[in-house]
Symmetry: D2
Subunit: 440 residues, 4 copies
């Protein structure tokens, strides 16, 4: 039998296992740098499958991590792990300090190095709790309040571990090295930079990653082998400091940090569009003030900007910084802006895109390849750090889409996905590796 | 010896006891409707002093309470009481449900009814934790994070209990009834309405209350026997509901509740001034958005408006509501506004003000009466509900100021006071009662 | 016959003449520093009545004029004078350059100096042109587009010239000197400063001025002999300079001065209220941008702030300046702020107020004196410059109100007044002078 | 000799004549619907060259004109024509009413219909008047204050009349019909709709238009034969109506239309970007308020939105309308929005683009064709109405760029161009016509 069909059958035979993995991840979602249980389960599974496993400080270089939670928050999270079915023997001291993420390596003799990346973190949202929402109805909705796998990274983990199993089962047919990178803190664009800085991409010849995507809007296939133009991005934390005063007694003595933040929020939305390409700006959160009758002396905003090119992103970042400082001055306050996440723009290698397209059309004809097989992409992804590093030394990289139906868009509290996508992802990923390492 | 000087000596002899009460209150501050420990300590003390004691639903009529915390929050607070030195035998089931506040009654035969009011709640602020700040330096700073006696109600409690003791010691010289009202939830103007609605003021002939005030700005005395014109106020909670969307992928699909709130915050500050008198508006807190890369679908604001008259306050309230709804429509959102606190304006009875002035000048010459002994007052106080109720049936009411030095203004995190003010408050309050009930 | 009743009858006999003067002024209104026709008619009339007449640079010191129009605008206005029934022989070269305003002096031997002031300028508004509006219906609406006597200074001129006539008729009964000051550019608080600087007040013992006011709101009399607390004010012209760009082609290259001005306008409205007293702020006009598809590189705002005290006005001015600069920085622009008008706060001398009250109650009983005869006043008036100058050397000054019914408020396009007020004003003003100069 | 080289030589021989035409147009610029002098000169010239000439209501269908000035403005402009060297015998009554624009038709027997379009209107900007600016230095700067050919339509007119002359000289070599459309009111996207509605495009087989463009930024050639994706656009006039009040006396009685407009201006800038493609928004002008001390009761804004597709433009338009209405409600005002200009998006026919590219490369090798010969274009042009109409019945249409150096960008007050571009434009346009009509 054709090895690709063999891979496909293996993937389908893992369906229930993949669903179980996805759902246990969905039930206990962990946001960036908190993925302790997630990392422990991945490390355990990769170990069982015979992979060489890197964790903790081996994965992410310490000085390049961005947006790391406070030690208190990390510790509080750690304390709840035992009651959530965590294999505590795999939770290292590093993980407890927020060094999450796992890399599994399968060495299969000489040959090229092929790497895949799966992101593993959740979002700070509270999952919908109505009967309309399948995860709630079927009992696998998030147990972690304020935290939800609303972007589908739970399915990425399941695809990654399924792919790991398929590859371990066909390892004697592979010639070269497989690296499976389970990246933390993709949301907020905080995790990839440190993995790139650790050099894990420096020997990679072929690098692929995927993200699930809705099957009804952008693409017309089951798989888009490559995408063009993820947006460069910067994540800004902005603090406004003012002066409190009794709002009834002496309003003229206050310097209102909340008014300053509101001025900034509105002006940020109005940064002029750039003629050079797409731009974006979002004031995602704002917290300000201490009490109703006190002139607010503090406000905090989480902002992100994006640009189709690094230059446009830079333009947006500079305008945003200037606005925050000016807005603070409007009410006699001061502002401080910190960059807590960033990602460059990125472009898939067309040769690798076409190789994957041809492979799917030839060997996995049950999956339709998108007509626009190198389609536009207006999200942001810190995978650019990894792709750029691979491409910098001559390797090839692609960022793909795996389509699935969704009852509600990603990043909404009603998000869910069709778990048949898990089999498809495993099939395609394992086939890509076999295509590179198996046919020489 | 003159009875007034006797009262004064008693007050001074209680200095250390008063300081101790103030400091234990300062260490465990409780915001409105959470004053369980506070109420228990007051109830215990009044009972020991021989007062008839009302608590729980006896104090505040249930349907008129505003801005009550959720059952979960109340219960969580209740759980921490034992470890904070609370006399748990005085914590009733009502208190556990947020029915805080205590009324102590001392019946001394026939005669008029004279009532005093002391407010007991703290503010949602985190106390300064540096060596510059005496409460921190001397070890009696707040142990309840995010909660602080920053308005001086801790000193009011100490004055109230000291006055209770002095009056109990001179009770054979009194003819009539004393009511000491320890009111919850004055901050946010939420507690007095229910006490008034319960009818506790309906037999009161003379009613006095005081607030500490800085000795260096408004007044030039130690005591201001009366004030003119506390501002009427309304406290508004505003919710903005929008539609989330991925900020990078589909910004056009979102309806940004945080932008709506920011527009509202800025427009609220700009409500036109009123030619009829003082007005105020403060957006005290704003919380919006769920994540940096999600178009915010929710925002929440705590707002207050004030007016020198009830009409001006009504004007401010109406403009504020219209602004919130319009601001929501700016970004395709909806707004809902709830009134969670309110107070009318109030005016002290000049006859009673002058009676107190004369009494102090004659019998307590060690205290200077403010030149402007019925001075302007631009704070708000829900005591208006109590004063208006007393005045409605022909009683007389005053709202006074007790001056003290403060290293930092009220409602700031560095607030502290000179504890000598405690003796002064006790002296004056007990003397007022004696002046009414003792000399007939 | 009592001289006061004689004065009163004289005033009433002048009714038609006064109405005619008011209406010709109403038909040809002139805004500040443009009052050439107005000044010429006044100068002509005063000359005919035997007054010594000062005009041009004799009235206002050149270097203290504020907000003077451009030479081109002045000249354009001058050119239209002949066709508007102007006595051109009284239009001096000074007037043509914008040195408007007239002072008439009547010397009646030894005695005190008593001065009256009448302001003469109109507002830049377009008068209502519907049949509902009496001036339009009766044919005496403004013929000068964009210009209207909407504050009633036309009636002040008529009162001034009527008073001049009455005084000239009773001059043998007067002992001392009368000064009638017809002041230009009161709107915008631009004219009085220069008259004060010229020293015309330095020998004045008694100084009175009046403004018509609505009879249904503030006061309950026909005359308020004095007012308390006109607001101090500053008039600010603000220019925003940015950078133009094609709005479709290169929006990112622009620095949008109009957005900056809009940010400023909104933030100015939100300057925190002052606990020390009344404050005001108004962005009266905004002009920005050159074309629909060009990023605006220029915007201009006319702003005014006010305060119950000079300190509060100073606070408002400082906040306003800071806001304009910060708002400019929001969009990469610059702002420049010029102070083009100002007035101090002012207070009437109570002794003079009571003298006028007593005189009216005794001698002109047909007129009711307001109960609150020294009432609050939240307008602004540069008369403060004149009053303060009189008071500085020991003279007494009052600012009064003459009540009349109005179908629509002052400063609206439907404003009109009851011309019976003219007789009343003449009676009262002439009586004040007689009271001072006639009864010694 | 090759006919193309012949055309090229003719074009060069006309250089001085073309410069003269461009400069007389530059000196007397006329904005949309005011192009009376411009149209008269064009009509005269086309008549002299033997063209059949359409003017007035023959050109633009009356009911489809947008953004037409008032009769008073048109008449005032008409009055100044004689003193500006206008051939008054060519100024028709229609032109006086704002029916500007001219179509010249050259009938050369059977064959296809080929049309060219030249836009003729100026911008409402005041031209730079410093020695640095060549038109000022050399004496041909605008004599019409507030009006300037800052987009280069003066050069388009010169190209059009030069092309008209060349074609008339080679008319015996042409087989078919030439239509030269001199379109009014392109700025603001107001003129093309009416020409399309008049049916002038309904028999056109080939249609070309051009715009000058800077030679240093977008393109690398002398000519771009076609462009992709002019933005669809809508031009909105927005009126805000409020309620005036004296800003000092009764600010609470006003409804501030200027504040409403400022809120709208800022919110419009913040309309969320669209993931489907480019969007734009510009508040080009704002005029509000009548006087410094009057709460503004009126404000007027000129706004434009754009979108890469008609759908995106529709999204922007709908959001803009909603914002204006909500902003008005913020201050108790009302808003009315009128659409005064619009243009659809448009795409050049690739076959025609390539035909022109090949023609230039073969026959006019002195001109470089842009590498990206069908390049992106983020301006807006109402030529889409004409192109879409041609394409609707199977004709082919292109929108091209003619590059020239510019000392300052289009739509700036320092704009100028290199007049060598005139020869190039005439060569290329005449060659296109010859390519279509001459070689059959």
């Amino acid at each position: 039998m054709d090895m690709y069909q063999n891979i496909n059958q293996l993937a389908r035979s893992l369906h229930q296992e993949s669903v179980d993995i996805r759902r246990t991840m969905h039930m206990y979602p962990e946001t960036g740098w908190f993925e302790m249980r997630t990392s422990a389960i991945i490390a355990k599974r990769l170990t069982e499958l015979g992979y060489e496993v890197l964790t903790g400080r081996q994965v992410c270089r310490e000085d390049t991590r961005m947006g790391v939670p406070s030690p208190e928050e990390l510790e509080a999270h750690y304390q709840q792990l035992p009651e959530q079915g965590t294999p505590m023997e795999y939770v290292t001291e590093d993980m407890r300090e927020g060094f999450t993420g796992v890399i599994g390596i399968l060495r299969c003799g000489d040959g090229p190095v092929a790497a895949l990346r799966f992101d593993i973190d959740a979002l700070p949202m509270t999952e919908n709790a109505t009967q309309d929402h399948r995860p709630f109805r079927e009992g696998f909705a998030s147990r972690n309040p304020g935290c939800m796998h609303a972007c589908g990274h739970d399915s990425h983990i399941a695809m990654g571990l399924g792919t790991a199993r398929v590859l371990s089962e066909i390892r004697e047919h592979l010639h070269g090295t497989v690296k499976l990178v389970f990246q933390p803190a993709e949301e907020g664009a905080r995790g990839a930079k440190g993995i790139a800085a650790s050099g894990h991409m420096d020997d990679v010849d072929f690098f692929a990653a995927t993200h699930i995507a809705p099957d009804d809007t952008i693409d017309d296939g089951d798989i888009t082998p490559g995408t063009y133009g993820s947006l460069a991005t910067a994540k800004l934390d902005v603090e406004f400091h003012g002066k409190a005063a009794h709002a009834g007694g002496f309003p003229e003595k206050g310097c209102d940090a909340l008014q300053a933040a509101a001025h900034a929020a509105i002006a940020l939305a109005g940064i002029p569009r750039h003629s050079g390409g797409m731009s974006r700006v979002n004031v995602g959160t704002l917290r300000g003030g201490s009490g109703r009758n006190v002139v607010p002396d503090y406000a905090f905003m989480q902002v992100e900007v994006r640009g189709e090119t690094t230059e446009i992103n830079q333009y947006m970042t500079e305008r945003a910084c200037a606005i925050c400082e000016a807005a603070a001055a409007m009410t006699g306050c001061t502002a401080s802006v910190s960059i807590v996440g960033e990602a460059p723009s990125q472009v898939s290698d067309l040769a690798f895109v076409e190789r994957i397209r041809d492979m799917i059309q030839t060997h996995l004809p049950q999956y339709r390849v998108s007509t626009e097989y190198n389609s536009r992409n207006w999200g942001s992804e810190d995978i650019g750090f990894l792709m750029n590093r691979v491409q910098a030394h001559g390797g090839q990289a692609v960022y793909m889409r795996t389509m699935t139906s969704m009852p509600s868009a990603q990043h909404t509290t009603e998000f869910d996905l069709d778990e048949k996508a898990l089999d498809k992802g495993i099939s395609v990923f394992a086939s890509i590796i076999y295509n590179i390492l198996g046919e020489s």
